[in-house]
């Protein structure tokens, strides 16, 4: 078992939930302070593809501010530099309702990445605002500190009102998903939790029971925040991916139809479910990787043999 991979998968889930919390807190911050923030809104990028900054501010039809939130950053300075530069170029020009604008871009990064960001800062564009946030040292507030000078009106608005207080249990139990993609095992656990809810008390003790996918989708929808509550397609693709994973590890039987057969006793004594799912996913991926490597080796060997025979033929 690859312990590092398992830890990484679990860490992804924690970072995702922290990100959901952060983005949801910012949404409520906008509502409470009458700032018309756009959360995870799609714009058109320079390359014609949609771009979705975490937070943006639109004034008179133009996107004037964009904030990208990073829940975690690479510890490697070069990789971190590439990440930051990627953000700067991604949002350099955005098209909103036919109007192209060049917003001020800001990057919010976690306090644990402060040293690496300070290290790469001299090489970064001057018009990029860097702001460090601390979500982990207090359980009910997020504090911010700007690195250098702010060029972002929106970041200034946030920082002047910081620390931003919130109720963690309310936020975390209200919102469990945002538009940003959740880790597979995170969605799988949310779906698995939902299965228990559908269980009829009179069927407790039975080896299996049926659940309807459409009902599952409807109920999962309530864990999305208002700006994405009606995105049925997004939800169904996530739920389906989670169902495929649960089917793979024999927690359910699902053939893509509305009926899902749930095996409630599966994994019931396996401890922390996120940890268990991470182990199973890591094992599946390792198996696939080995299979792929074996296949590639086979192909390259046969290619070598082919080349040799061709060479022999032409000698």
């Amino acid at each position: 078992m690859n312990d590092e991979e398992v830890e990484r998968l679990k860490q992804e889930c924690h970072v995702y939930q922290d990100t959901v919390t952060f983005i949801s807190v910012m949404y409520e911050f906008g509502v409470n302070n009458s700032i018309l923030l756009e959360i995870e809104k799609d714009y058109l990028g320079l390359d014609g593809n949609p771009k979705t900054p975490d937070i943006s501010l639109v004034e008179v039809g133009s996107v004037i501010d964009v904030i990208e939130h990073k829940g975690a950053m690479s510890e490697n300075p070069q990789a971190a530099y590439d990440e930051v530069m990627g953000v700067a170029s991604k949002y350099s020009q955005l098209e909103c309702e036919g109007r192209v604008s060049s917003p001020r871009v800001a990057l919010l990064y976690p306090s644990c990445s402060d040293s690496v960001v300070r290290e790469i800062r001299p090489g970064l564009p001057e018009n990029l605002t860097l702001c460090c946030f601390d979500q982990s040292s207090s359980d009910n507030e997020i504090s911010f500190s700007i690195v250098g000078k702010s060029k972002s009106k929106l970041v200034d608005e946030i920082v002047t009102r910081a620390p931003i207080k919130y109720n963690p249990s309310t936020i975390r139990s209200t919102y469990k998903f945002i538009k940003a993609s959740p880790p597979l095992i995170y969605t799988a656990y949310q779906i698995r939790s939902q299965f228990y809810i559908y269980r009829d008390i009179k069927s407790t003790g039975e080896d299996e029971y049926q659940v309807s996918r459409s009902k599952l989708l409807r109920d999962a929808q309530t864990f999305y925040p208002p700006w994405i509550r009606n995105n049925l397609q997004l939800n169904s693709s996530r739920v389906d991916a989670a169902l495929e994973f649960l089917d793979e590890i024999d927690f359910v039987s699902w053939s893509g139809e509305d009926d899902i057969c749930v095996y409630p006793s599966k994994g019931s004594r396996s401890g922390d479910q996120i940890d268990y799912f991470a182990k199973r996913l890591a094992a599946i991926r390792m198996k696939e990787r080995k299979k792929r490597e074996k296949r590639e080796m086979k192909i390259s060997k046969s290619q070598q043999r082919g080349q040799q025979s061709t060479l022999t033929r032409f000698q």
Partner: protein, 364 residues
Amino acid sequence: MISRNKLNRYNALRNVRCCQGTCFMLGLEKFSGRAHFFDYLSNTYLRAEVPSLHCFAFILPADMTPLETVEYAKKRGLKVTLTPSGDDLFHLNIGIRTSCCVGYLVFVDGNWIFFTDGETSRVTSTVNSFAGRMASVLRLAYVPSPMLLETIGRISREYTKVLLTEGTICTTGETFRNWKKDPVPFSVKEAHRQAAKEDGKWSSVSVKCFQGDREVLDCRFYERGHLTLYSGDYSQFYSNLLLPYVSSALKVSDRMKGRERKDVDGRILLHPLSFDFGQRKVTPRDMNLLSERIVARYSAAVMHPGNPMLQIQLNDRDDGSAFDLYVFSTKLEIVPLQKSTPAALGELVALVSDILPTGLPEMV
């Protein structure tokens, strides 16, 4: 009056006989209904040479009758027989592995109470084991420690003197410490002080009630839906102790109702329940302990590992209720998700309170 030890030996002997084919004294009797049953108890418990009477308060989901519950138990492979014996009275025989328990199930003020007699440890383990296996349809009622003390405090006003004779103080890490000193007059304040001194909570309390100089009741209260009459006047026990206890249990159950996460026109409504730790801080060790115990008991995932906040999302395996549990430095919150039954929430509150006994559940 015969001594407690003698009585326990007598009870133990009878219980062994019971499991070999004979039966509990109470279970052997036949009654035409509830009134007849209560008459019998009133007359019998006036005598001193009777075994302890145990009363277990059960919470049943509203849509299931006791007969349906027993059918369910049979499906789960439990040996249970329930025979109607007049209005609101059933003869109940529970068999778990090699032990059994016989008595009567009576409907009392909205709760089903199981009356049985016999040795305390045997009866308790049989009924607890039965309730554990039936958790999706039946649970023992729960009266949190502070409420238990308040209930006894109210009861004590009816008597000239109430003596606290012994009890169990539960401390963090599940170290149960028996508290037994010379009997002292019962006082809620003093009982709280004693628990605080031990950094724990009372999980059971034994008292003797006096009218003038005459001892009229000797009994024990437990947090988990159990009340024992060792000796004394049954009528007084019923009206002055059992009914207030059941009423407290019902209040707790009522406060746990309707707390599900609701979506009202797109607005999410939550009804959390919190534990207050006052000046005492919840330590990382407490969080680890809680995390281990919750993950072992429920289908659960640690969504935030502590430092500074611990978040566990969990499901009750028996009835599917779902909760988010948050632990902060001085507070713990349970947020019911889309399904939350009073029994499952009560069970979770009781478990949390057993693990971290210094936290006081606020149920308003």
